[in-house]
């Protein structure tokens, strides 16, 4: 569906409908997905970029959120 109506940048999640941020109460998972989405915001180089998160439904382990990783998210220098 995302390929048919591409937004500027999209993080593709191989998760069921209604579970874009993952599983109920899985805080670390939800922050991991947000980190990937915000990284894409700054790293994508052209409109319609779709990045596959690579995450598998209910088969991953997630680290506790690292606030410093979020604090470091900023526009990248491009040549």
């Amino acid at each position: 569906m995302t390929e048919k109506t591409p937004p500027p940048r999209a993080l593709f999640m191989r998760f069921p409908f209604g579970h874009a941020l993952g599983e109920v109460g899985k805080r670390a998972q939800q922050f991991d997905i947000l980190l990937r989405a915000f990284r894409l915001l700054f790293e994508a180089e052209q409109p319609g970029t779709i990045r596959d998160s690579g995450l598998r439904w209910k088969r991953e382990s997630y680290p506790e959120p690292d606030w410093e990783q979020f604090r470091s998210l900023a526009p990248v220098d491009r040549p």
Binding site: M1, T2, E3, K4, T5, P6, P7, P8, R14, F15, P16, F17, G18, H19, A20, L21, G22, E23, V24, G25, R27, Q30, F31, L34, A37, F38, L41, F42, Q46, P47, G48, P65, W67, F70, R71, L73, A74, P75
Partner: protein, 169 residues
């Protein structure tokens, strides 16, 4: 009512078997036209971020999304990010939202974004989120594209929001 039950059952099937949803997605017509693009200018920790969801979320005091039209409902709702959980509900027959009802962060991650704000990792969470009901088809697609989306974008731009997180249901 029978039609709504059928849609809700199909939603559970599609949620349980994502490969079926993927097959259905292949039948959709590709949008032809320019994809909007703006280079990000601010670090996340200085930016105002807003959330838009297609999960059919709304305040209980607002009109529910219309489930009687098979082409969907192209209207939107403003959802305050500080609204108490008990004041919110989901009206959407085209995805299984039982888990989202237990944890709204799955489709409207404002609790997590507030934590980022408190940690100094996100400048500010815009106090108003936006919700549409993502099953919109046929004659209502131009309404979504030319009216609803335009009005949401206009309001976000007027509020000087820097980045928008669009969360599909």
């Amino acid at each position: 009512m029978a039609s709504r039950l059928k849609n809700q059952l199909l939603a559970r099937v599609f949620t349980t078997f994502p490969s079926l949803a993927a097959r259905w997605g292949k039948t959709l017509v590709r949008h032809e036209g320019e994809v909007p693009w703006v280079e990000p200018r601010l670090p996340l920790k200085k930016a105002v971020v807003a959330v838009v969801t297609t999960g059919g979320l709304h305040l209980a005091t607002q009109p529910a999304f219309d489930m009687t039209d098979s082409n969907g409902d192209p209207s939107f709702r403003e959802v305050p990010v500080d609204a108490p959980r008990q004041s919110l509900q989901i009206t959407h027959d085209y995805y299984d939202h039982r888990d989202a009802e237990q944890d709204l962060n799955l489709i409207f991650p404002v609790e997590r974004l507030k934590e980022l704000e408190q940690a100094g990792a996100l400048g500010k969470l815009h106090p108003v989120g936006y919700s549409i009901m993502g099953h919109i088809d046929g004659p209502l697609l131009p309404t979504l594209q030319d009216e609803t989306a335009v009005e949401i974008a206009r309001r976000l731009a007027a509020a000087r929001v820097d980045y928008v997180l669009l969360v599909p249901a």
